[in-house]
């Protein structure tokens, strides 16, 4: 029995190795927390010219940074974000702003992107470009690097939480599980959660907590492990009781 457990564990160990992310992400995520984001002028698809503060004053924002020609992480990142939020349709405590950091992107490109994800009519989502991307990047410590060999930006999949006063409350780097999204949404609404995991340490819990198909949180494997001893004991009790039954002296019982 325990051999099986060891096997399971070791297999899990390897599956974790696969999706571990770069170490530096955990440092990057901690930068600029509770600082004000740069109030950039925006060109929002389907809307007039706006300032960033007009958006976050209305409702807290989740800011996603992408570029439309990306052949890497941007598409899965947006898809994931959309799926994650689909399960929170009733939660309209925040809006989502998808902002391009590539100066080549026009508002038309962003419109197409919105169409591609079937989000152009969704009131919660904004797609925009800005002409002061450098300043904005600086204020959130976002550094995309142009790689001329592959003709692509080398960049993180960054999600920034901004509360309605324009303070950066939390950052998420990489494609993250539902629980981290919960924490992000809580943070932009100034709801305190006393803890969070570091992104680089994807261990037992995260492997099973997050189901990419549904975007839902599952019972953590860790909890199962904690319950395991008690469950084993009960099973054993029933098992033994059954097997020694015939030895029991006949005692008359009314029940």
């Amino acid at each position: 029995m325990f051999k099986n457990i060891v096997f399971t564990i070791i297999t899990i160990g390897f599956c974790i190795k696969g999706n571990a992310q770069t170490v530096s992400a955990e440092v990057k995520e901690e930068r600029n927390i509770y600082e004000k984001i740069y109030d950039a002028p925006l060109n929002v698809a389907g809307k007039q010219q706006l300032s960033l503060h007009e958006l976050y004053n209305e409702k807290p924002l989740l800011l996603a940074l992408v570029f439309t020609r990306c052949s890497g992480v941007c598409n899965p990142f947006l898809l994931q974000l959309k799926e994650n939020l689909q399960f929170r349709t009733k939660d309209n405590s925040f809006n989502v702003l998808v902002l391009s950091f590539d100066p080549r992107d026009s508002i038309k490109d962003m419109n197409l992107l919105a169409k591609k994800f079937d989000l152009e009519n969704n009131k919660q989502w904004f797609f925009a470009v800005t002409d002061s991307i450098t300043k904005l990047n600086q204020s959130i410590s976002f550094n995309p690097v142009w790689d001329s060999v592959i003709n692509q930006y080398d960049h993180d999949a960054l999600l920034v939480g901004i509360n309605s006063e324009g303070y950066i409350t939390k950052k998420l780097i990489g494609i993250r599980r539902g629980h981290d999204m919960d924490l992000l949404i809580a943070s932009v609404n100034n709801v305190f959660s006393p803890t969070y995991r570091l992104p680089s340490k994807n261990l037992l819990f995260s492997c099973f907590n997050y189901d990419p198909k549904t975007g839902k949180n599952k019972l953590g494997l860790g909890l199962i492990f904690i319950a395991l001893p008690a469950v084993l004991t009960v099973l054993m009790l029933i098992f033994i009781s059954y097997f020694v039954k015939h030895k029991r002296p006949e005692i008359e019982e009314t029940s």
């Binding site: 564990i9 037992l204 819990f205 004991t233 030895k247 029991r248 019982e253 009314t254």
Partner: protein, 480 residues
């Protein structure tokens, strides 16, 4: 013949436990003296002594309770002698391995060996960690065999429902489950569950050790498992002592035997559940633990005290209040032990309140309260049994003239030793410090006072030991 063999092995248990106890107390006094700056040990020596002291103490009082329960259980059912012997052999080997790991290998991750400290120790031999884990494995397997065997024997006579005394919830039950069987059953379940937790924990440790870093554990999960094992076994060993009291208190007092009633059954069934979830209170200061579990921790810690106080303590009160009974060292130790258990429990309930825990967690308040219900509670339950056992088979069972002396020294020594801890805890002095920073001017003198009183306690134990060891040896070497 069976019962003579059992009698002999029980006296081996008694002598082994007492000798290991005397060694461990000595280590405790050395620790207090080092903290008092009377002697000067290297930190590594101090912390490996701390590890030895903690695990040996937990181990011996657990097996003392088991040996007593096993001995008394023979009155109701046939128990397995082989399992008892296996447990004895495994315990002795396990303790020797542990002592090699700590005394020679300088393993010093404390008896809770909180992950990942055993892998990141400095100043310990590299083989020591593996030997320590192996010693725990040996102890765990021996104890698991013993407790599963006892549980199986109970189930051979009683169905699950009867062993849990569920028939007592109805009017006029046809079968009576003796309180001793009920409590033993409930406790054995808890013991088996926490030993399973230890197995899972050890497997995870080994998996990381042998995968050479390919597999890394989750610190939060490991901490939960550690306290599932550590807290629960420390708690259950008290209940083993209570089972003995339910069986013997009225008997040695010359009163009618206690009976199982619906509320006794209910209280102990509840206890089973609360005890298994109370360990969450060890993780209050880990904000990463889900909040729900923290609140369960506080509720379970509170509720665990209710049935215990309402039933056990009250039963003792009823048995004693304005009732002429035969007082002997045995029931005096039981009575004082119950008082110590209650007082330690009060300290524990105060600490298990989350908003208090934030200023008490890992201060000397923690050793203060757990030493109260161990050194002045559970230990006295077992000593009471030891004394009763040793007088069972000798002709002159008259009250020893040492009774008053032993008890006086035990009380003075114990109370003084404990108060030094409590005052230290209220003074924010950290636990597990080999020496105290100069910010705490009272810490060192307090430790010296603690050591002095602990020596008085040790003298009481020595008197007790010399009082009974000859009788135990006589039982051991009597012709069968």
């Amino acid at each position: 013949m069976e019962s003579i063999k059992l009698r002999k092995i029980t006296s081996v248990w008694v002598i082994t436990v007492l000798i290991l106890f005397i060694v461990s107390i000595t280590l405790g006094i050395l620790m207090r003296l080092n903290q008092g700056e009377v002697i000067s040990q290297s930190p590594v020596t101090f912390y490996s002594n701390l590890t030895t002291h903690g695990l040996t103490m937990i181990g011996i009082w657990f097996v003392a309770g088991m040996a007593a329960v096993n001995y008394l259980m023979q009155r109701y059912i046939k128990t397995s002698y082989a399992a008892n012997v296996i447990a004895l052999v495994f315990t002795v080997i396990g303790v020797l391995m542990l002592w090699t790991a700590t005394f020679i290998g300088k393993f010093h991750a404390a008896w809770t060996f909180l992950y990942p400290l055993p892998f990141k120790e400095m100043g310990a031999a590299t083989w020591a960690t593996l030997l320590f884990l192996a010693s725990l494995t040996v102890l765990g397997i021996g104890w698991l065999i013993w407790s599963i065997s006892l549980m199986t024997q109970i189930l051979k006579k009683y169905s699950i429902a009867q062993a849990f005394a569920w028939q007592h919830f109805k009017k006029n039950p046809k079968v009576e489950t003796p309180p001793f069987i009920l409590i033993s059953m409930i406790t054995l379940i808890g013991v088996i569950a926490c030993l399973f937790a230890a197995v899972v924990l050890l497997v995870l440790f080994y998996a990381e050790y042998f995968s050479k870093g390919n597999f890394v554990n989750d610190a939060l999960l490991m901490k939960n498992l550690t306290y599932f094992f550590g807290h629960t076994i420390a708690n259950e060993m008290l209940y083993l002592g209570l089972a003995v009291i339910y069986e013997l208190f009225s008997e040695v007092s010359g009163r009618p035997k206690w009976k199982t009633t619906w509320y006794v059954a209910l209280a102990w069934n509840f206890t089973l559940i609360f005890v298994l979830t109370a360990f969450f209170h060890h993780l209050y200061m880990d904000f990463v633990q889900p909040e729900g579990l923290q609140i369960i921790g506080q509720l379970a810690s509170y509720l665990a005290s209710l049935p215990a106080a309402g039933v056990t303590v009250f039963s003792v009160f009823i048995a004693v209040y304005r009732t002429k009974i035969k007082w002997s060292l045995t029931n005096l130790l039981f009575f004082i032990g119950i008082a110590g258990w209650v007082i330690g429990g009060l300290g524990a309930v105060i600490d298990s309140t989350i908003s208090n825990n934030i200023v008490l967690h890992n201060t000397l308040w923690v050793p203060a309260h757990f030493h109260t219900y161990n050194a002045m509670g559970n230990v006295l339950f077992s000593l009471g049994f030891f004394y009763w056992f040793s007088t069972q088979f000798s002709e002159n069972s008259k009250v020893s003239k040492f009774t008053t002396l032993t008890l006086t020294l035990l009380l003075i020594g114990g109370i003084g030793f404990l108060l030094a801890f409590y005052f230290g805890g209220a003074d924010s002095i950290p636990r597990r410090y080999s020496i105290y920073p100069s910010d705490f001017p009272m810490a060192a003198p307090m430790a010296t006072i603690g050591a002095t009183f602990a020596t008085i306690y040790l003298i009481a134990i020595l008197i007790f030991f010399f009082n009974i060891y000859k009788r135990c040896l006589k039982i051991l070497f009597s012709p069968s």
